[in-house]
């Protein structure tokens, strides 16, 4: 077996046998479950803690308000404003509302120290609706007329693709893609963080513990570098496959366990295979690029304790496209984002966003991936040279300064 593959196999299996790797694989699900649990607890505590609202109005009005605020407040009729004030001061109610007979005027008084607070906007909306209904009913209209007046306007929205002066229909559901793009932005950044740190730790620990001297007596540094990069990329692909298998299992169990209705809330077909494939490829390309960068920086540290410093430099580079991705969500068609979406190091955040809002096509995504592949080929050549030069260099010095020095030297 080629020495590069021996190194790759060793690094891959070493991590695969490590409990830390499995924690990394499973921790997102654990945190999601914990989050759902906390959210459910909070929701329950809120629903059990509805604010009590005293209403000073006639019986019909109180009934109408109770119906409007059903589930949001426990409405109790108060005979007079004085009685309501008294109930409030004794903390029998959390707020009281006085309403004129035509709903034109209303006053909401709330206890600012109450555990359960009532939302003034919700009350305002409810009273406004009741006011409109009261006005309509005074006009003696038919039921259809009342329904027509009170129902919201219907607005149909669709996108068209403008090409060569003509237009064609674009049936993509942008909502699903948009949500996916936002999810992808966060997911890609988390993946980058995890694998940049893993790379830094792999390289820095070997160097810091001096085991690298023994290894490089058996395998040339360039081959060792390539093996490490292959192993870490393989770990990432393994993670993707693991998640894909979990997703398939989750879909298969949706029927028997009765959560299919939640999955069916989203029209997954709207994502499109082209979108998913190109986004996945761009993400893998970006991970490889940042792994190479992290390996180069980590090779420049002399001590294990300096590894976090070297990886933090790479993370600062990675955080720029992360924020650019959010900016692109609002202005995907501007020339600057069109250009950036093709630039390696940045494309993983901007291109999926542009594709999600229909500003870029699947072909654009594949072109961005192609540019990443070219960048990886160039980086591998230069980075393995820098790695070979620095792997056994234990001089003190900042990684960035060493990198600049390495570039200045003729034979990199």
């Amino acid at each position: 077996m080629n020495k590069t593959w021996i190194v790759a196999k060793h690094v891959f299996l070493k991590n695969l046998k490590s409990p830390a790797y499995y924690w990394m694989l499973l921790s997102p699900f654990i945190f999601i479950l914990v989050g759902i649990g906390i959210a459910a607890l909070v929701t329950n505590s809120i629903s059990d803690n509805k604010p009590s609202l005293g209403v000073v109005a006639n019986r019909q009005q109180v009934q109408a308000i109770r119906a409007s605020l059903k589930g949001q407040a426990d409405v109790r009729r108060q005979d007079t404003a004085a009685q309501a004030r008294k109930s409030l001061s004794k903390e029998h109610i959390d707020a009281y509302l006085t309403v004129s007979s035509d709903y034109a005027k209303a006053t909401l008084v709330s206890n600012n120290k109450s555990d359960a607070t009532i939302d003034a906007d919700t009350v305002r909306q409810a009273i406004t609706n009741l006011k409109v209904q009261s006005a309509i009913s005074s006009l003696n209209l038919t039921a259809e007329q009342v329904s027509s007046l009170s129902s919201p306007a219907v607005i149909n929205s669709r996108y068209v693709s403008v090409t060569n002066g003509g237009t064609s229909n674009d049936n993509t559901n942008r909502g699903v893609r948009y949500a996916f793009a936002q999810f992808a932005l966060v997911a890609i950044f988390i993946f980058l963080t995890v694998y940049v740190q893993m790379t830094g730790s792999e390289v820095g620990t070997e160097k810091g513990s001096r085991i690298l001297d023994s290894i490089l007596a058996a395998v040339p540094a360039r081959q060792h570098f390539a093996g490490k990069v292959i192993a870490i990329v393989s770990l990432f692909i393994f993670q993707l496959i693991f998640y894909a298998i979990l997703a398939v299992i989750a879909v298969m169990l949706a029927g028997p366990f009765g959560y299919a209705r939640f999955l069916n809330l989203i029209d997954w077909s709207q994502l499109g295979s082209g979108y998913i494939i190109s986004t996945s490829l761009i993400t893998i390309g970006a991970i490889v690029i940042y792994i190479i960068l992290a390996a180069v920086f980590a090779s420049m540290v002399s001590r294990q304790e300096d590894v976090p410093q070297s990886t933090s430099t790479v993370m600062w580079v990675a955080i720029v496209p992360y924020f650019l991705g959010y900016a692109a969500l609002a202005a995907a068609n501007t020339p600057i984002f069109k250009i950036i979406s093709f630039v390696p190091f940045f494309s993983q955040s901007v291109m999926p966003v542009r594709m999600s809002v229909g500003s870029a096509t699947t072909l654009d995504g594949l072109v961005a991936f192609g540019l990443e592949v070219i960048t990886i080929a160039i980086m591998l050549r230069f980075a393995s040279g820098i790695y070979a030069r620095n792997a056994l260099n234990y001089d003190d010095g900042k990684p960035l300064a060493k990198l600049l020095r390495a570039f200045k030297k003729r034979r990199v």
Binding site: M1, K3, I6, V7, H10, K14, S18, S209, R210, I211, L212, D213, S214, I215, L216, A217, A218, V219, P220, Q223, L392
Partner: protein, 309 residues
């Protein structure tokens, strides 16, 4: 055969190795000695391709050191290191595979090597469970189990107690009998004298001694006498040609300017008859080391900070 021809290496203003040339044949042991910063480790790094020589060339059996040649090299670095969380057996497999051996070839030998080095641990133990000395033995196994033809050991005895140092000496001799060419550096000259067929002494990047260990010592003449007799220091020092007389191991160490003066020392020492010890020998490697390099040179090198190992 390992051949170094006119190797030089500088780091900025520092001349780490200057025009170094020597050869090492198969089945021989070479002791590389020199003070800290003499250029020993730089020499090793150039042989192993860790750094490139500025000039000259290094060949193994007429071939430059490439990935294939690396399979025939076993190296123990001065700074030891293994993966603490990986099992001993897995680490040995990994290094053997990196040297072109299959697991099937290595598996039957692993326990033998563990027993040979008397490692206190099992192949399934993680390295971090072992003591420092036993970790060092495991690292030696990783350097030797693939039966290298060229073995480079940088300060292999450091950190080993006398019992384990003897085990290592025996293993080095065994490898020599198997035909391996072995180079090792050591600060302990006794270890070098004990097994090295050849010796090279480096001083500030220069080769100052190069030859068979016995011949190198003999070339200095039998100028050292160990003596146990009633003769006093003053009596001995009065003999012309006696350079110094010092207490040593319960007797006296007499240094001569000329081996012939030994006869006068013997006559003085035995004037009353039987004595328990009179041993006239060439200087030991340690004494030669001190003579050649000299305390002044060591002090100067440390002050200038211009040497590099």
């Amino acid at each position: 055969m390992l051949k170094l021809e006119n190797i030089s290496k500088t780091f900025g203003d520092l001349r780490a190795v200057v025009d170094e040339s020597w050869e090492l044949a198969d089945g021989r042991i070479l002791g590389l000695i020199g003070q800290n910063g003499a250029g020993k480790s730089t020499t090793f790094k150039m042989i192993l391709n860790f750094i490139e020589a500025d000039s000259g060339q290094i060949t193994w059996n007429g071939r430059k050191i490439d990935s294939q040649v690396m399979n025939e090299i076993g190296f123990l670095p001065e700074e030891r290191g293994l993966y603490p969380d990986v099992k001993i057996g897995e680490q040995i497999f990994y290094f053997a595979e990196l040297h072109g051996k299959s697991r099937q070839e290595i598996r039957p030998k692993m326990q033998q090597w563990m027993d040979k080095f008397d490692v206190k641990g099992k192949l399934t133990d993680k390295v971090k469970k072992l003591s420092k000395g036993n970790q060092q033995k495991v690292q030696l196994i990783t350097a030797l189990i693939h039966e290298p033809k060229l073995i480079i050991l940088d300060e292999p005895f450091s950190g080993l107690d006398p019992v384990n140092a003897q085990i290592l000496l025996d293993i080095i001799v065994e490898q020599k009998k198997n035909g391996a060419a072995i180079i090792y550096s050591s600060h302990d000259m006794n270890n070098v004298s004990a097994i090295a067929d050849d010796v090279i002494m480096l001083n500030r990047g220069h080769v100052v001694l190069n030859g068979e260990t016995g011949q190198v010592r003999q070339s200095f003449g039998r100028t050292m006498i160990y003596l146990e007799s009633p003769a006093t220091k003053a009596e001995l020092s009065a003999i012309p040609g006696v350079v110094s007389v010092e207490d040593y191991a319960g007797g006296l160490q007499v240094t001569l300017s000329d081996p012939k003066v030994g006869r006068q020392v013997f006559e003085l020492a035995t004037k009353n008859g039987y004595i328990t010890a009179f041993d006239q020998q060439p200087p030991t490697l340690e004494q030669i080391f001190k003579m050649k390099i000299g305390q002044d040179a060591i002090d100067e090198a440390e002050k200038e900070g211009l040497t590099h190992e």
